[in-house]
Subunit: 741 residues, 2 copies
């Protein structure tokens, strides 16, 4: 990559929009970056977790005697060491989270924690965990939406809101679908299924906790939000957040999956019992068995269109697996399903359904890719039926500024049409296809969040700028914050240092998720820098013995309006800080709003091997509205990453459960994620339709890019083999079976 903008408009910015070297790069390539599993503390113990071998069972008894008697064992804990929150005023979410951290009377999935130990070595800990004797009474299980919603299904939790295993229902509707379908010239109705897929982050979960004699705990953890880890850990332990300090480690991938707690409360309680720090590290098998994949789904979409290409009605059902506890991505699925379009009549009904698999958790635009897979597949069929170009059909129905969003308020300025046009006009979309090849288009939407952010900016006496944020950097937020700080203060980028600080050292920050962090951090940083510039001007005025209003900030320097003195740079002013008011340091906080809806359109070409059914993605182009690309290479990386993950989800990834409910493929050998050789270089078109609610126009970019991909790949395969498949993943077996006459 070079410093040129590849078509992006830098609009007079010096730093924003450049492809600067990432500030975390050196530490990562040299191996110096510290992940939580790297932390060593004096006296630290190693822990291990004993997990359920059953998908569903009653815990009759747990005998820890043998484990406790083993050499080097310093603590053994079970659910009995945790507060029972069922009678407390804790929310249902907290109660479920607590039960997911460690089982009490029942285990609800293969891998559910039942006990944990801390010992002087990992080998001893593993041996002791294996020596814990749990007596189970095995119960019948359900593994997916169909089984869980069957009339005679065993019910996992009493009293769920939706009845049986249905934890929640959510319906969005507008207009009258019957009237709508009556206006339609073509109606298509299809059913779809998708499988649970894992976020697949490289770094397994790990944590170190140290609980002191007063009951305060230090936690070190790689997560997407250490303030959130603090809050969740405190909640399940029924303590105040003030009793915890959480220090972020470098993070090796999250994609939504590192926004919840698994090991942290176990380590805290083990440490409290042992009186020493305790480290817990998951293996890959633990990650697959017991951390959140996203939902498997069962969906139905019926859509009607006039012969002129106006979508007039949609009727859909989206049933999503929640896993062992309520709380799948129901909102994300239902509320995004039709968000790209302006449809007068619709009813979309969704179900959050529990089953005996690990509790699902957020995965990049949670819920949206599956819903888009169903909707965009049907739209593609409608376009084919109408003999319309699939992009033209979408353009004819696209949401624009002022459209009342499917999920509610009218859209402010958005860039969906621009992404459609970018793909339509791309060389890729115009290029010819060869034999056994197919092309598919897909579109997607994601809300993007704002939320709470805090920054502290301090300037040292050499003019170096230190920025403290409390948001872990999972996709370049340090790089983008550095660019914004350099831009705002008129100093060289290399003078900016960004630190992701612990929960004691910076104001509260919401989780790095919802594609909020670059947006919110840069917005709050701009506020801080505005205050700083005023402070710097005031100090310049003190230096010049003039009034503050006789000083203005021009080109990164304080300038005396009457020109009677040479301008003062940040460094000039900082060197003199002790004489003009003391150290230069400012904190700004805000609950930011208006993160700016994000849209993406993608085109994917595949080639299907007629002998084996293997699908190769031979070309993929993604266009996305980033609002303003603070750091284009990171934006492109996010867009490429979304497509890469979407391709894996569409073609190969799935959880394979045995009939007894145990997971059969808990490793990267058997769970097939795409590797570099599976993918083409993914082409990117960064669209920049500024978000009017952000000082630089930034929108979230991290999640939108995965939303269209399942559909685009599915549509491409359908085009290649001339037969549409409605069940993911599109494994060679399925494709071969479908493509054979």
């Amino acid at each position: 990559m070079t410093d040129t903008q590849q078509g992006l408009d830098q609009q007079g910015y010096k730093w924003v929009g450049t492809r600067s070297i990432r500030p975390d790069g050196l530490d990562k390539v040299t191996g110096r970056a510290q992940f939580s599993a790297d932390l060593m503390l004096p006296g630290m113990l190693e822990g291990a977790v004993a997990r359920s071998p059953h998908a569903h069972a009653r815990i009759v008894a747990i005998d820890t005697t043998a484990a406790e008697a083993m050499p080097g064992i310093r603590a053994v804990i079970t659910g009995a060491d945790f507060p029972d929150l069922t009678e407390s005023d804790a929310s249902a979410d907290v109660v479920y989270r607590s039960l997911n951290v460690i089982a009490r009377d029942r285990v609800l999935y293969h891998g559910h924690p039942v006990a944990a130990v801390a010992a002087t070595s990992r080998e001893l800990a593993n041996a002791a965990a294996a020596a814990i004797e749990v007596t189970y009474e095995v119960l019948p299980h359900v593994l997916n939406v169909e089984q869980a919603m069957a009339d005679d299904a065993p019910v996992l939790h009493d009293g769920l809101e939706g009845g049986g295993n249905v934890a929640k229902k959510l319906t969005l509707d507008r207009g009258d679908v019957e009237i709508g379908f009556a206006e339609a010239d073509v109606v298509v109705e299809r059913e779809f299924t998708t499988k649970p897929v894992h976020q697949g982050y490289i770094e397994p979960h790990a944590t170190v906790a140290h609980t002191d004699e007063s009951g305060r705990s230090d936690i070190w953890v790689s997560s997407q939000g250490h303030f959130s880890i603090r809050a969740q850990t405190a909640a399940v332990l029924a303590r105040d957040v003030s009793r915890f300090k959480v220090t972020p480690a470098e993070i090796g991938g999250g994609f939504g999956g590192k926004t919840t707690i698994y090991l942290e409360p176990l380590a805290v309680v083990l440490s409290g019992k042992a009186g020493r720090p305790v480290r817990l590290v998951m293996g890959r098998g633990d990650v697959f068995r017991a951390t959140g994949p996203t939902s498997g789904t069962s969906m139905r979409i019926k859509m009607g269109v006039t012969k002129e290409g106006r979508i007039v009605a949609c009727d859909g059902t989206l049933a999503l697996e929640a896993g062992a506890f309520p709380g799948g991505p129901l909102n994300g699925a239902v509320m995004t399903a039709l968000a790209c379009y302006d449809i007068p009549n619709f009813v979309v009904e969704g179900f959050d359904v529990v089953c005996n698999k690990p509790k699902v958790h957020a995965y990049r635009a949670p819920g949206a890719p599956m819903a888009a897979f169903a909707v965009e597949s049907v739209i593609d069929e409608l376009a084919a039926e109408l003999d319309m170009d699939p992009i033209d059909l979408r353009l004819a129905n696209a949401a624009v500024e002022g459209t009342q969003a499917y999920y509610g308020p009218p859209f402010a300025r958005i860039g969906f049409v621009e992404t459609l046009e970018a793909i339509r006009d791309s060389e890729h979309y115009q290029s010819p296809l060869g034999p056994n090849q197919g092309r598919g288009v897909g579109c997607g939407f994601w809300f993007n969040m704002g939320g709470n952010s805090s920054v502290t900016v301090s300037i040292d006496d050499a003019g170096g700028v230190s920025v403290l944020t409390g948001s872990p950097d999972i996709g370049g937020s340090r790089a983008s914050a550095a660019l914004v700080a350099a831009e705002e203060l008129g100093v060289d980028l290399e003078e900016i240092r960004i630190t992701v600080a612990d929960t004691e050292s910076v104001g509260f920050n919401d989780v790095t998720g919802g594609s909020r962090t670059a947006h919110a951090t840069s917005a709050v940083l701009a506020i801080a820098c505005e205050q700083l510039r005023a402070d710097l001007c005031g100090r310049a005025a003190a230096t010049w013995s003039c009034e503050p209003d006789e000083v203005e900030w021009v080109d990164g320097r304080a300038q005396r309006t009457d020109g009677s003195a040479p301008p003062l740079s940040v460094r000039d002013i900082a060197e003199n800080a002790a004489r003009t008011g003391g150290p230069i340091s400012i904190t700004a906080t805000e609950n930011t709003r208006g993160a700016g809806p994000g849209f993406s359109t993608q085109v994917v070409d595949v080639e299907v091997d007629p002998e084996t059914g293997v699908v190769s993605v031979i070309r993929a182009t993604t266009a996305q509205d980033a609002g303003r690309a603070l750091h284009p290479s990171y934006v492109e990386g996010q867009m490429q990453g979304g497509v890469a993950q979407g391709i894996g989800w569409a073609l190969n990834e799935e959880y394979v459960h045995n009939d007894d409910g145990t997971l059969d493929n808990p490793s990267f050998l058997d769970y097939r994620m795409p590797v570099a050789s599976d993918l083409p270089m993914i082409e990117t078109i960064v669209v920049e339709v500024p978000n009017p609610k952000h000082p630089y126009g930034v929108r979230g970019v991290g999640e939108t890019g995965i939303v269209p991909t399942l559909a685009a790949v599915g549509n491409a395969v359908g085009d290649a083999i001339d037969t549409r498949l409605h069940d993911l993943p599109l494994t060679p077996m399925r494709v071969l079976a479908a493509s054979q006459p």
Copy 2:
């Protein structure tokens, strides 16, 4: 200790003035506190320093070949690896500091670093350091003021300001001493000497540094000021401070001695060369040979008094050893010498004199105890000549509010007279003495500093308060800051957490020295909390949908002036922060002024064993004006610590050098500091004359308490044996010789 105030007036405060449990106590008694030598990093190397065996020598050649060829050696450095600052625009102080860190062409004292190595183990590092071959040309040396000021003395540095080995002269004068002495009825003139004594902190110096490929360095260090360590390290390496991040470790004592650099630049350069983190740890021998003790002195005081007890003239000379480089505590000695008194005519001349011993460094009220030893001994003799009570003579001449201070401006409100009266009226001062016992009084003054401080205060959603400071806690500044934060915000003390943050995480803070930290931190914290209360009231107004001016802060809660809603506590408001403006976090900074002069009066009883000359301190009472004792136990501890160190200095401590200039007693076995069994329980009287320039009236307290002790002990011994001794320490040998007729 109990919660009662022992006579201190808490003036309606809830927390300020209480004897709370120290926040660092648990970590220290459990061994969890991390000092710099405790830090372990992956791949960390151990370093060792090769030091000069000579007091003065030219370095002819350094051959590192053998050392570099040894197993496990990763880096060897000499002075040639450091920038030569002599031709730069660096100040003389920086140049001298650089030369003290590592010698270039000459070594100037026994222990002066000449090279350093980093290896995979400490044993290998020590072996390699020993294998470095240095060819020296030994030069003549001078070991004290007398030798260094002799006409034929070898000169250590060319071109010193005062000529020869005199680096600097400083004279304070007022009135006309000839006229003054003419008015005097009694004149006493005496000469005094004191020896270099070490601060004697428990924890030897240690540091870990990691320099990355871009030339940025992380430093972990136990110090009295990591911002200052950053600045000094940057200066001697001719880099910007922005290139360094310094993280404070817990500190095991400093007393002024940990305000400078020794190992840090060596570790930085070794790490840069080795590409790995490097730890350097001093042994006790290194500490004695190569870190700063305070000056040995040679002093003369002539003082005249009328028969009514009015001191009318003083003429004094104070010559202080600087050690190998200029910069002893000349100012501290000259400018405090007569500060307790209102004397119309004086001339006090001081000399900063270099010699071939380790560069002296700050030690608790640097320079003042020696000057007070001389002045207070003479005053005691004058009182005896006049047959006046020594306290009455001092009261007759005491500085009070409005007195033009000896060193300059008129005093604001001060409490010297109150300390004299407290001792005069004490049961101790009235108690009878037994045979071979004597009683001595001494007084002392210290300026106390203000300086730059920054704090960041954040409130979590359980109402817990996190305070970030950049000032290492050497004497209870965390405890006192916690009390102030609790007082200011109306929250329970246990909700306050104080963190000493690294140089990236908080605004600039001056060194913890000059007794400035409790004063400055609490002053800036009060500013931050005032802003916070305004913020909290604004948020309460937002909650109540009323105007901010309809809310006031009463008793730790936001209260609606019309009483229409129940008041909101910090926790109530914090829980709702996201809806009232986002996270609650505020930074305040200030270059504080007016730390408030401190005075102390002490009375010491000794018993002299007539057979051995051993002096036992049998009772000691110290009265000191603390302005406001934020945490009385800590104030008392500081007062007791000062007296304990003063007793050691007066009776036993001294550096013993051989004729060849090497240090003969570099260990606690041969350098005799007082241990618990050498001391009585030191009684304290905390005087509280509020400092008008601080919101709580706080004055610095850490240093003043050592100033009177040398004199009080000396006067007591003089009283006991009826012979005055003028040379410290008052060893059994000297006392026995003097007390035998």
